[in-house]
């Protein structure tokens, strides 16, 4: 059964979603990445979009301007979420955003934000930018265009947006952190076996 969240997302809808689940989104997702985070948290500028109950996408799209002044989403995939880790806890607290979408994992601050303020971090498969663009029904508006195409806040209405792989759930469990423990253990074994075979300096 396909699980779809709809914005505005009530906390209750997040309760039975666990790391590793695949979900989809209907509603509003706003692109928000490095400089937008810095402006809100470090420079104290008010975001021009009210994100309460909505989703943000760590992404910088390719957008085409139509002759009538509207915009078409050409290609939009996730960027590395970890770059936003420094700001994310405070960002979630201040905005009330419920869904953070990007790629790769995030760390302790975001885990804590997801647990305390009830939110999820999800991964949209990286590089799958045409797939994502075709799930955007309309770009409703754009803010902070002075930041350039990748960094602007693109307000997208989406339908069946996904697959979104849950990487941090509302209990603060972290899929990538768990995986990394396993990867590191295997890494030590791999190192031990390879290092014996590359002693070329004799």
């Amino acid at each position: 059964m396909k699980k779809t969240l709809k914005t505005p997302i009530p906390d209750a809808d997040l309760a039975d979603i666990k790391i590793g689940d695949v979900i989809y989104l209907d509603g509003i997702i706003v692109t928000c990445r490095d400089v937008a985070h810095r402006r809100l948290i470090e420079l104290g500028r008010e975001l021009p979009v009210d994100l309460n109950g909505l989703a943000i996408f760590h992404a910088g799209p390719i957008v085409k301007k139509n002759p009538d002044g509207t915009y078409q989403m050409v290609s939009i995939g996730p960027t590395t979420s970890m770059r936003m880790e420094r700001f994310e806890k405070e960002f979630v607290r201040q905005t009330g955003v419920k869904l953070l979408v990007g790629k790769g994992g995030m760390a302790e601050e975001t885990e804590e934000a997801c647990k305390t303020y009830k939110a999820l971090h999800c991964v949209f498969p990286g590089g799958c930018a045409v797939l994502a663009a075709t799930e955007v029904e309309e770009i409703e508006r754009v803010e902070w265009l002075d930041l350039g195409m990748p960094e602007s806040l693109w307000v997208n209405r989406v339908k069946g947006f996904g697959p979104l792989i849950v990487s941090i759930d509302a209990e603060g469990n972290n899929l990538f952190k768990k995986n990394k423990v396993i990867f590191n253990k295997r890494k030590d074994e791999v190192y031990a076996s390879i290092s014996e075979k590359v002693k070329f300096i004799k």
Binding site: G60, K64, G104, G126, G127, C128, Y191
Partner: protein, 296 residues
């Protein structure tokens, strides 16, 4: 005299195409990895990737939104004419492809921190030159260096006491710490030399080689295979969600080192490895080596 306008148009179209369709060897590898994957979540990620590439071709759109900062590796035949006109034409080709493809606006000016939306700027596109003796052709390799797969890039100079074991450790650590974010399965490029800038350049050249080509030194080839198997045994999986593979391949390029140093450079290509290779003669007849049968 070469027809520089025609050259510019060919490169602009080639760049646009290379952002939409992956090279033949990469496509074949992704299909093979997808077929071999047994973990359901990982398999579904591969399915999204293959579906995305199909849609990108059908809709004629850049398959990944991050079309990178464009790098050119030009190998000029000794007898190729008008070489002084090539660099400005490559810059103009990027300007045109940015509008025609379209490409994402990616060049941010250093210090002034402005993005003027053209994808050209100070040393952008970045152009590397080589000379091929006894040749009258021009070989242009294109690479869209995306942010995600540029992020793990690093280099270090080790002491000889660290040995090649130190290289192995540096590569494994980098891949587990940073590879997950770089859109695996990755193509891992390693440069080994006597200083960091030599090692770094070689690591990028390594990922421009056809997938699965081997280092000419048998020990180098063996080390590539050991690292490939070792990284796959770690099982990062597509997008780092864990799976049966981590990499599409490992390529090593090398240059003689100083007795006191072993420098290592690492560059990775993401699964959407948008590399192109086109060879032109002086009449602008061309052959595309990376995408057989592609039309511009």
């Amino acid at each position: 005299m070469i027809d520089i306008e025609k050259f510019t148009e060919v490169i602009a179209k080639f760049l646009a195409m290379s952002g939409k369709i992956l090279p033949d060897d990469i496509t074949a590898k992704l299909e093979a990895l997808s077929a071999a994957e047994t973990i359901p979540l990982a398999k579904s990620v591969y399915e999204s990737m293959l579906k995305n590439q199909k849609m990108a071709a059908e809709l004629n759109r850049p398959s990944c939104q991050d079309t990178g900062v464009i790098n050119f590796f030009v190998t000029a035949g000794e007898h190729y004419p008008d070489l002084g006109k090539i660099a400005p034409a490559l810059k103009e080709a990027v300007r045109r492809a940015t509008v025609q493809a379209p490409l994402r606006h990616n060049t941010v000016a250093i210090f002034d921190e402005k993005n003027d939306g053209t994808n050209v700027g100070e040393r952008a596109p970045f152009i590397h030159w080589d000379i091929m003796p006894d040749s009258d052709t021009l070989r242009v390799e294109t690479y869209m260096a995306g942010g995600g797969c540029s992020l793990p890039g690093r280099a270090i100079t080790l002491m000889p006491s660290a040995g090649y074991e130190g290289i192995v450790k540096y590569v494994l650590d980098t891949m587990v710490d940073w590879g997950i974010n770089a859109c695996p399965p990755l193509l891992v490029g390693i440069g080994i030399a006597g200083s960091v800038e030599n090692a770094s350049l070689l690591s990028k050249k390594a990922i421009l080689r056809p997938l699965g080509s081997r280092n000419p030194n048998p020990k180098g080839a063996e080390m590539e295979l050991l690292l490939e198997k070792g990284l796959n045994d770690i099982g990062l999986g597509p997008q780092g969600v864990s799976g049966t593979a981590s990499v599409m391949g490992v390529h090593i390029e090398s240059a003689a080192r100083h007795p006191s140093t072993i420098s290592v450079g690492i560059n990775v290509g993401c699964w959407a490895h948008r590399r192109g290779c086109i060879v032109l003669d002086k009449d602008m007849n061309y052959e595309i080596l990376s995408h057989k049968g592609a039309r511009l």
